[in-house]
Symmetry: C2
Subunit: 191 residues, 2 copies
DNA sequence: CGTCGAATTGATGTCATTCAACTACAGTGG
DNA sequence: CCACTGTAGTTGAATGACATCAATTCGACG
């Protein structure tokens, strides 16, 4: 049983119902570093991570990357508003590690709801979860120092610490790799 | 015809359908400075602004306010994730100006969808809009200087510039009032 | 007219950035 | 097996952006 299958069961779908939706998904493999969504493209799908790690990030005027989200196993990643409004994306998605993901086409949601009304509530939950997450991140960026944000990061993604290079964490936190290195030094001296 | 009535028409509801929902809303009046949602409370409703101005904001460990959102006429404000998950709110909502707003109770959405299925799509649109907004704000905080954020603010809320004190704009931007004053000075010297 | 909060300005401090040098290490090709 | 190369991470010194503190001005309003 794949993680994605399990995910749909949690949504309240039955084995039969899931089978009907299969044509609207596709298992995809991405090599490390492979680009999945480019800026200015309309996001064509949502990805559920079976194995590996994707990330979304934007690039500013001066060419610097800013990581928006990491998506390890069991997470979803996409540009929701790009999909929904059909607008070009303002960020990229690529593979941090070699990754297997389920590509979910836009029609999936519509169909899933048609097949089983429960799915609407499930999707609603995902949307609200997403909002909660963004909200929390915003709050941290507005009010917390780099150190606090780092500690929060460790808490949110404990298993990613040893999986991704430090400069990516720095990029996620909104600071430079050098600064993160110093923050970590401070922390290790405290304890 | 009130703005809120008009808002529901845009959602695809008919006059009759709107009447049936009336019991799930209530017109409320807030005095300037009045607190509407306190931190640690579960958010009891969503507010549609008929007239006036509300804001949401958090307070950090050192007692400083950070404004999350402004809600002038025709905007909605609430803590969505608090409502949805029944969790205590991590921010406040209060009235920047004397305000008339429509209080929308949690059951409203459910009932509206029952009465007219179109409303689900409308609400979905609102949710995605919210996500888009948060996403954009996040990106700015991660990558833009205070000056750029200020220019973006002017663009997003052009009509608020002369309605709210400067220190609130500063708080929204994540800088001090003094810094904003200097940013504005810079800008006026450039042009 | 006096008071109080808002805004500006200057002097100084702090945190994070930038630039540069250096170490460590993994991968490549000879 | 070793030299060559490139990327990650650390460290130091200088710089920059914004914060803090303090003083002053400005304007609204009782």
């Amino acid at each position: 049983m794949t993680p994605f299958f399990n995910f749909l069961l949690k949504a309240g779908l039955s084995q039969k119902e899931i089978d009907k939706l299969k044509s609207l998904t596709e298992e995809k493999h991405f090599k490390k570093g492979e680009l999945i969504l480019r800026e200015d493209e309309v996001c064509p799908a949502t990805y559920f991570i079976e194995n590996g790690l994707l990330r979304s990030y934007s690039i500013d005027d001066s060419g610097k990357e800013h990581i928006i989200q990491f998506a390890p196993e069991q997470w979803l990643i996409s540009n929701r508003s790009s999909i929904f409004f059909g607008e070009p994306s303002d960020f990229f998605i690529d593979a941090v590690e070699e990754t297997t993901a389920i590509e979910i086409y836009p029609g999936f949601l519509e169909n899933a709801v048609k097949i089983n009304g429960k799915f609407a509530a499930f999707n609603d939950r995902l949307l609200h979860n997403h909002i909660r997450q963004l909200q929390k991140r915003l709050n941290l960026l507005l009010s917390a120092t780099a150190e606090k944000r780092y500690l929060d990061f460790i808490h949110l993604y404990p298993n990613l610490l040893n999986r991704i290079p430090q400069w990516m964490i720095a990029s996620y936190l909104g600071i430079t790799p050098e600064s993160l290195s110093r923050v970590r030094k401070e922390l290790s001296q405290k304890s």
